[in-house]
């Protein structure tokens, strides 16, 4: 079964367009990953309008490669500048920067790239084997199971991703409400359109996401005072010998990749948790001579292998169940929906070439990462020297052209700007933005399956408890809800105590 998918995907993948765009995606991903403030999610968002005009496998190849390259690119700025390009690379600077300080910047970057590529490939093997199995298990799922899965995806992301639970839930629910705008697919009635024809199909997800993330990020960058500064970065040239250096740490490599893949498959856990966990495990298991925190090669291996393996893990529930693991995979899921494919068991049955093509582009993008990363690192180092004064207007321009290109609509540009302002408000008030996107993507799945469940049910909402898998998911959701209540009470008490001790200290 697994090889059938790969075989079907091979034909679609072996085209100059798919191969070329996968390679281009890696370059773009490494660049956006290396630039502090951008990262893989922003790369996917900015180039989504370009991708959705392409055939499915080249489009997904381009976006997945940006995800893969972006997850690794953050290590370059972490090692050279002590500024992680993305939060995924935050743990890389513990040992990567000290290595650079000791004159081993090229080795550190080479090890980071090699570990990322190997970690990604290990995650890919898990993806290729597990996704079809999970999809065939989910083939028996009916609307009640899908409705509960959608709720579970949203809850899990809110619980695990940290921050205020209530704010996360509010953001996710706001996304669910946004998804209801437009024509109702059941009654064909119009909801929240305010008489505007532009809203008949609801808000275009790309316009919303570009506004929320990219415009608000550019506004945040404008408040900084280093807009004209040219970062002082020395050129690093990693060689092929770094592959051998990385392979010396094979136990660490396999263990960290396994941790990364595991956390990737859990919605909400993501690369940051996996890279810190694998770093902690590697440090605990280190031999006496390895000086973690002062330039140990193993530290870079652990974090980078884990955060790129996460990409493979996160694609497992995204492709087989249609439940995204994080905001980046939610955007990939959104891209698949725009391209006309509904991720889940039906896609594995009806479009094995697309599923196989996605497997192939994911595996290939990790191989391309190794080649491009080792050979083209000096180019990414030069990119790091571009001052923000050029980057900010360029990104704003890319946002506006990309959003306009979706359907040649000025209305989409206005939507983008309005959501940019909402994004600024939410960021300033410390609301997470990722649950909005996930809510918007899961919203239609949740509503359609909830209403279908009630249509086929003879006992109303009891249908969710009548079926064993659905009942299990209800219990998991109830446990997640209980965890949310517990964590909220604990955090409020903690915050109150710290505020009180602050007041008492100031009184003294």
């Amino acid at each position: 079964m697994i090889f059938e998918f790969l075989n079907a995907g091979l034909d679609v993948f072996l085209s100059p367009l798919a191969l070329g765009l996968t390679f281009a995606g890696i370059i773009v991903g490494l660049v956006v990953g290396a630039m502090p403030g951008l990262g893989p999610l922003m790369g996917i968002i900015l180039l989504l309008p370009v991708a959705i005009g392409l055939p499915p496998v080249p489009a997904m190849g381009f976006l997945i490669a940006i995800f893969v390259g972006g997850s690794c690119g953050g290590s370059i700025s972490a090692i050279l500048l002590r500024i992680p390009g993305t939060p995924l690379a935050a743990a890389t600077l513990f040992d990567g920067y000290p290595m650079a300080q000791k004159g081993r910047a090229s080795d550190a970057i080479g090890i980071a790239i090699t570990s990322s590529a190997i970690g990604g490939l290990i995650g890919g093997v898990v993806l290729v084997f597990c996704a079809p199995i999970l999809a065939s298990f989910a083939a028996n799922f009916a609307p009640p199971e899908y409705a509960m899965l959608a709720i579970m995806g949203l809850f899990a992301i809110v619980v695990i991703s940290g921050g205020s639970i209530i704010k996360g839930l509010l953001a996710g629910s706001f996304g669910l409400l946004l998804a209801t705008v437009g024509t109702d697919s059941f009654s064909t009635g119009l909801r929240f359109t305010f008489g505007s024809n532009n809203l008949l199909n609801g808000f275009h997800i790309v316009a919303v996401v570009v506004g929320l993330f990219a415009i608000s990020e550019m506004a945040a960058q404008m408040t900084k005072r280093d807009l004209l500064k040219i970062p002082d970065v020395k050129v690093a040239r990693p060689g092929l010998h770094t592959i051998a250096l990385t392979l010396k740490h094979y136990v660490n490599l396999i263990r960290s990749s396994a941790i990364g893949t595991f956390f990737g498959a859990i919605p909400g856990a993501g690369g940051v948790i996996s890279s810190f966990t694998s770093y902690a495990v590697a440090k605990a298991a280190a031999k006496p001579g390895e000086d973690y925190g002062n330039g140990a090669e193993g530290g870079v291996v652990a974090t980078e292998a884990a955060n790129n393996a996460t990409v493979g893990g996160t694609l497992v529930p995204t492709l087989s169940l249609g439940i995204p693991g994080d905001a980046s995979s939610a955007m990939l899921l959104g891209a698949l929906l725009i391209l006309g494919f509904i991720p889940g068991p039906a896609m594995f049955e009806n479009n094995p070439d697309v599923v196989g093509g996605i497997f192939m582009v994911y595996l290939a993008s990790n191989i391309f990462l190794l080649i491009a990363g080792i050979l083209a690192t000096p180019i990414f180092v030069y990119v790091l020297r571009i001052p923000k004064v050029y980057l900010i207007p360029s990104i704003l321009l890319l946002c506006s052209i990309g959003t306009f290109a979706l359907q040649a609509s000025v209305f989409d540009l206005k939507v983008m700007l309005v959501f940019g302002l909402i994004g600024i408000l939410f960021r300033a008030a410390d609301y997470p933005l990722a649950p909005i996107v996930i809510g918007m993507i899961l919203g239609p799945i949740l509503e359609a399956n909830l209403r279908r469940s009630l249509l086929i049910s003879r006992d109303g909402y009891w249908i969710f408890l009548d079926r064993p898998v659905s009942a299990t998911l209800v219990i998991i959701n109830a446990l997640l809800l209980a965890a949310m209540v517990y964590l909220t009470i604990k955090r409020v008490r903690g915050a109150k105590q710290s505020e009180l001790s602050k007041v008492m200290a100031s009184d003294e």
Binding site: L169, L170, F186, I215, M222, L397
Partner: protein, 168 residues
């Protein structure tokens, strides 16, 4: 300058406005269309109503938390956005204003006339003052993006009322 607590209340107010809008639309527009009641097939209001009620409950909790926080520790100078100077926020505000004007005039005067001045203005706001460098780089960025989108991706950028385009 707005404190983090004030911003939290503004965000709560915004979400409350969303909830009110949902109930107002259900009570008026959806009711008139006949899709605010009935079974799961016809009742298009039931799902947004459930979500809106859920949001309203969460808003009440969050409001309570904010009020409790306020009572436990009155607002201090530390609650202000300490790292930000008014000039920093001013730059972001100016950028948004320039970008909003750009989006408004884009379809009227066209991509090629609107884009380079927008880039130039943002560079000026960023603090760049080398006029020739700014002119050259804004024209180069605008033309470069137009080339990529029009030639490689077949996107027709807004031509404006004067139908300005570059025959690549």
């Amino acid at each position: 300058m707005a404190s983090s607590r004030t911003l939290n209340f503004i965000a709560l107010g915004f979400l409350l406005a969303v909830v009110v809008t949902v109930f107002w639309q259900i009570g008026t527009d959806l009711k008139e269309q006949g899709i605010a009641s009935g079974g799961p097939y016809d009742n298009a209001a039931s799902y947004p109503r459930i979500i809106a009620i859920f949001v309203a409950v969460l808003l009440a909790f969050q409001f309570g938390i904010e009020v409790l926080k306020g009572k436990a520790a009155p607002e201090t100078e530390e609650d202000q956005l300490v790292d930000m100077q008014p000039s920093d926020l001013g730059r972001a505000g100016m950028m948004l204003l320039v970008f909003a004007i750009y989006l408004m005039v884009l379809t009227t005067i066209g991509y090629h006339l609107a884009t380079a001045p927008m880039i130039f203005a943002i560079m000026w706001i960023c603090g760049m003052r080398n006029i020739w460098k700014m002119v050259l780089s804004s024209v180069a960025i605008a033309t470069g993006f137009a080339f990529v989108f029009e030639v490689f991706l077949n996107v027709v950028l807004p031509l404006g009322i004067w139908n300005i385009f570059i025959p690549w």
